[in-house]
Structure formats: structure tokens, C-alpha cells
């Protein structure tokens, strides 16, 4: 049966993240003829509303307000619930990102709904949806169904596929006016210490070159950046490297960092602790470079080179420079 689907756009630094299009693609598939809507919340985000019909949106709701400049649960709940009223969804999709992860349970509770978190696959359409999600840091998976009521889902970036080509939906933009009272501003963001470096968003990168404590210093990351430049890759890191101060925490991959699923993950001087694997073991192809043949990272690697990363990584860069020239 047809179901209405509402997607929360994942906005970061004034841009729509790819996961937004992945969610729209999934929404189009599972709606089974129902209406697909997308909510864009923020301040100065109106321009993002254009052209979403091609990606599968019938309706585009925009709530643009200074109170939504930074994420706070109460103000975003208020704004999003307005979109829920307007879209009347049966299924609600959020990104499993800093904002989506936090807002989805708020909305699910408001709606008395079940929620399936960190979904990597959706089977079925309309009434019969089965969601796949990792448990135990990715050591196992479960398939989950929602038994009654509305369905709230958070989606792991880089796993569902966006629609191919132009879906030719209306993408009708509707601005919603929302006023915020003191109860909607129970918490406020006083300051943001931006630590994220520029460059490719780790959760969207197709290739990641990642460094661990084995990189030994901030300087030691240089060969990794050089390899990444040749590959058009993003640079990531283990907790070990972040804690040691070799790079900033924004690069951290793992259970407490970002969860990534690139086509290619190159782990340099990373031992492969379970909390790190939680963030990258679903990568399509994993390469490990480590001088310890017993390092657990080799157990998840498709290709392993036992050796000194300071020899291996520059060799890769040189060879690739020649081959890709």
C-alpha cells in the first residue's frame, strides 16, 4: 500500500550532504506510490530547496529561522513537527549523523513510534519493510521490522543508493512559518569550536587514507596527505592518532568517531581495535599497512602489506602518480 515518506535533509555547513539524496532515493522506492516530502531546517537554507524534484521529492518544506541556525533538540523538534503535520508521513527518514541521530528519537517519542537506527539496507516497500542494521560494533547484523504505528529510521550514509536520473517529481517548495517560545529554546548553543578541516567529508568519501599511532607525529601524516591527493581521497585517523595529537578529532573514525563505508580504505599504522573496526569494517575494499604481522587489522583487510608505512606509502604515491598521469 502507498505510504507517505518524510525525509529530514542532512545539512552541514550550508550544504546538503549526499545522504540526503540517498534518503530521497530510498523514500521514492519504499513509498510505493505515496507522497515523498523533504524537510529542510536551518537559517539561510532556502536555496537548498531547489531542484529536489529530480531526486524524488514531491514536496519540499522549508523552515528558515535564526533559532535554527545551530542544532538544538527543542527548536528543531518544533520545526520538524510542523513539517510532520503538513506532510502526514507514515515513514520518517533521518541521517545517522550528529543531528539526525539526536532528533530522530525525539520525534519517534513524540509520535509514539518505533525507531530503527543506523540502517544500512531497506528491503520491501509500503507496508512490509525490513531494515538491516549492525549490532555489536558491526560484528553482527539484525533485520528489524516495525510492528505498529509510524516508522522512524536513521540511515547510515553511503549505503542506500540515490535515484538514478531525473525522477521528474514536482519538488513543490512550501515555506512554513514557525514561532519559537522560551520552551523551544531550553538549550542554546553558545559557541562552536570548529575543528573540522576543509576538504572531503569523510562520510561521503569514496577513498579514505587513514593514519594511526604508527604515523608517529603530525608531520608523519604528510605522506598520507600526499597519497590522498593523488587518489582524490579524504584523510581519516584512529583514536590513537587523535589522542596523541597527530591530527584533530574531526578525523576520527570508529565507534565514537565517524562511521564510514568508502570503496577503498587504506589503514596505515592502525592496529585494528574493535572500536576502530566499528567505524570502517563495512568498507568495500580494505588495505592494511602495518609493520606488525599480528596486528588485528589484517584480519579484516583484503590486502595487507607488512612493512614500514613510511616506505610503503610514498612508494604507492610515486607509482600512482606515474600510472594515473
Amino acid at each position: 500500500m502507498a505510504k507517505n515518506v518524510l525525509v529530514l535533509a542532512d545539512v552541514r555547513r550550508g550544504k546538503l550532504r549526499n545522504v540526503t539524496f540517498e534518503m530521497l532515493g530510498a523514500a521514492h522506492r519504499i513509498a510505493d506510490g505515496g507522497e515523498v516530502s523533504i524537510a529542510i531546517l536551518g537559517h539561510g537554507v532556502e536555496a537548498l530547496a531547489e531542484g529536489l524534484g529530480a531526486h524524488g521529492a514531491d514536496r519540499v518544506f522549508v523552515v528558515d529561522a535564526p533559532e535554527l541556525e545551530h542544532y538544538t533538540p527543542d527548536a528543531h523538534r518544533k520545526a520538524f513537527m510542523e513539517c510532520v503535520r503538513a506532510a502526514n508521513p507514515d515513514i520518517l527518514l533521518f541521517a545517522h549523523s550528529a543531528v539526525g541521530k539526536d532528533l530522530a528519537p525525539v520525534i519517534a517519542t513524540r509520535l509514539g513510534a518505533g525507531q530503527v537506527s543506523d540502517v544500512v539496507d531497506i528491503e520491501g516497500t509500503g507496508d512490509s519493510l525490513t531494515f538491516t542494521r549492525p549490532i555489536y560494533a558491526g560484528k553482527a547484523f539484525t533485520k528489524v521490522q516495525v510492528t505498529e504505528g509510524k516508522v522512524v529510521v536513521t540511515v547510515r550514509p553511503n549505503n542506500l543508493t540515490p535515484a538514478e536520473g531525473d525522477l521528474g517529481k514536482a519538488g513543490q517548495v512550501e515555506k512554513l512559518a514557525v514561532s519559537f517560545g522560551p520552551q523551544d529554546l531550553a538549550t542554546v548553543v553558545k559557541e562552536i569550536v570548529q575543528k573540522t578541516t576543509s576538504g572531503v567529508d569523510l562520510t561521503e568519501a569514496k577513498i579514505i587514507v587513514s593514519g594511526g599511532r604508527g604515523v608517529k607525529s603530525a608531520e608523519g601524516f604528510k605522506p598520507l596527505y600526499e597519497l590522498a591527493a593523488v587518489l582524490g581521497a579524504a584523510v581519516g585517523a584512529s583514536r590513537g592518532a587523535c589522542d596523541a595529537g597527530y591530527c584533530d578529532y574531526a578525523l576520527q573514525i570508529g565507534q565514537t568517531g565517524k562511521v564510514v563505508t568508502p570503496d577503498l580504505y587504506i589503514a596505515c599504522g592502525i592496529s585494528g581495535a574493535i572500536q576502530h573496526l566499528a567505524g570502517m569494517s563495512n568498507s568495500k575494499v580494505i588495505v592494511a599497512i602495518n609493520k606488525d604481522p599480528e596486528a588485528p587489522i589484517f584480519q579484516v583487510a583484503d590486502y595487507g602489506i607488512v612493512g614500514d608505512l613510511f616506505e610503503v606509502v610514498p612508494m604507492m604515491t610515486e607509482l600512482l602518480k606515474k600510472e594515473l598521469a
Binding site: P73, P105, Q115
Partner: protein, 256 residues
């Protein structure tokens, strides 16, 4: 200050997962306090040391959870509440409602929880709890400051730090980096055996199991497809690198 901590007992981080008949086997598994909840316990104890008051640990789960609660008591928490009535078990929707029912029966100023459990890891329960109680929450904190009524949380938002302000009562969730949890001392362990753990049932909480029935069901649990055994490359380093790049380009086709 009345400080509550939501605590879940989980598999030890290093446990191997065995699935039998579509379920994760628990036999012979070593259990620990969910690591993020351990940060929450530690933070609660620091709040108590600074502001005075009581730390109460609240759990929904089978009787084996008692061991984890005892550990928290040995660290310095004052008392535990365990809802071990199977009528109260269910999904995140259910657990949040049960926690809320327990917590509504008592005074509280701040509720600490983990930002996720390392087993089921939905990251829902604490946020849902705040919403059930109708109080604000600030999640994934790497630093917490409470002064009078004022709460400042340093929230980890994908590597950036958001400094968020609110007032008590509030739910906060712990991220790695919040603190270094203390180990229980021998005296602590001895004292813990005398501290109270209250067990509560659906009847005690005035909950009708049908009103809190889960909204989701797990239809299958399985291990990821075993990866083809990885290939440790052999030979001269130069040749290994050449072979690697050749494979990535022509076999896996992940490089242009």
C-alpha cells in the same frame, strides 16, 4: 543534588559473537558496564563530590545486570534500582518508558546516560527518556559543567565542539573523552555489598505491559558474510606495492 545514572550491562568489548538460531548466544560471555555508561557513572560521582547529594543507578534488564550495578556501587554510587521483570523488557520504546516510570517516582536534578550501548547501539534510549519526562537533553558530551542551576555541555558534533547551555533538570549523555572512570577500590567493593539494590516490577511501576509493548521486532540476527581471507602480499616491497595497485585498479576497480 539527586543524580541518576542509566546503566546497561553489555558484552565485554572483545567478546566474539556467536549466533545460534537467529540469536546472539550469551553462554560463557563476560559482561561489563557499557563503557559509555561507565563514563556517566564517573561523571555522576564527580558531580556528587562537587555538589553533594546521592547517585542512584537505574537499570532495566535481567538479574545478571546486578553485577554491573554492584560495580557502579563499588565505584561510589549510593544505590541501585533494577527493573528485572520480563514483562518490562522490550525495544527502545519500551525501555525508555520503563526508565521514565521508575524515574518519575523519585526526585532528580540530573540524569546521566551513555550516548550509545556498545551492543544494540541504537543511541535512542536516553534521548527518548528525556522526551518522555518532558525535560531537555544534551548529548555526546566530552565535558560537563554544572553551576547552580546552570548546565554547560561540550557536545561532540562530528569532531566539532558545540558549547550548549541549559538548566536543570536535564538528561546528558556521555561520549568517550568525558573522563577517566575510576576503578573500584577494595573498600568500595566491600561497601557495595551492603548498599541497597531495589528490584521493581511492572506492578510496582503501575505499568500495564500492553501499554509499553515494543513497536519493533527483530526478525533475524546474522553474522556478516565471512570475507574472503585477506591476502598478505609477499616478495620485495616494490613488487608488493605494484601488485597492490594493479589489483585495486583492475580486479577491485576502486581506483580510476
Amino acid at each position: 543534588m539527586n543524580i541518576l545514572v542509566c546503566l546497561k550491562q553489555t558484552f565485554d568489548t572483545e567478546e566474539r559473537i556467536v549466533v545460534e538460531n537467529g540469536r546472539v548466544k550469551e553462554d560463557g560471555v563476560k559482561f561489563i558496564i557499557n563503557p559509555y555508561d561507565e563514563y556517566a557513572v564517573e561523571e555522576a560521582l564527580r558531580l556528587k563530590e562537587e555538589h553533594g547529594g546521592e547517585v542512584t543507578v537505574v537499570s532495566v534488564g535481567p538479574s545478571r545486570f546486578e553485577e554491573a550495578i554492584r560495580t557502579a556501587l563499588a565505584m561510589g554510587a549510593d544505590e541501585g534500582i533494577l527493573a528485572d521483570d520480563p514483562a518490562l523488557f522490550g525495544d527502545e520504546y519500551t525501555v525508555a518508558k520503563v526508565l521514565a516510570a521508575i524515574i518519575r517516582q523519585r526526585p532528580y536534578d540530573i540524569i546521566l546516560a551513555g550516548n550509545q550501548a556498545i551492543d544494540d547501539g541504537s543511541g535512542q534510549v536516553a534521548v527518548r527518556l528525556a522526551e518522555e519526562l518532558g525535560i531537555p537533553h544534551i548529548s555526546t558530551l566530552t565535558k560537563l559543567v554544572v553551576e547552580g542551576n546552570q548546565v554547560t555541555g561540550y557536545r561532540d558534533a562530528e569532531g566539532d565542539v558545540e558549547v550548549v547551555q541549559g538548566t536543570l533538570p536535564v538528561v546528558v549523555t556521555a561520549q568517550q573523552g568525558l573522563n577517566d572512570p575510576r576503578y573500584p577500590t577494595l573498600i568500595g567493593i566491600r561497601k557495595a555489598s551492603k548498599k541497597p539494590i531495589t528490584r521493581v516490577t511492572a506492578a510496582d511501576l503501575g505499568l500495564n505491559p500492553d501499554d509499553i509493548r515494543p513497536r519493533t521486532k527483530v526478525v533475524d540476527t546474522f553474522l556478516p558474510k565471512p570475507k574472503q581471507a585477506g591476502k598478505i602480499l609477499q616478495g620485495e616491497l616494490q613488487d608488493q606495492v605494484r601488485e597492490l595497485i594493479q589489483s585495486l585498479r583492475t580486479v577491485d576497480k576502486v581506483i580510476g
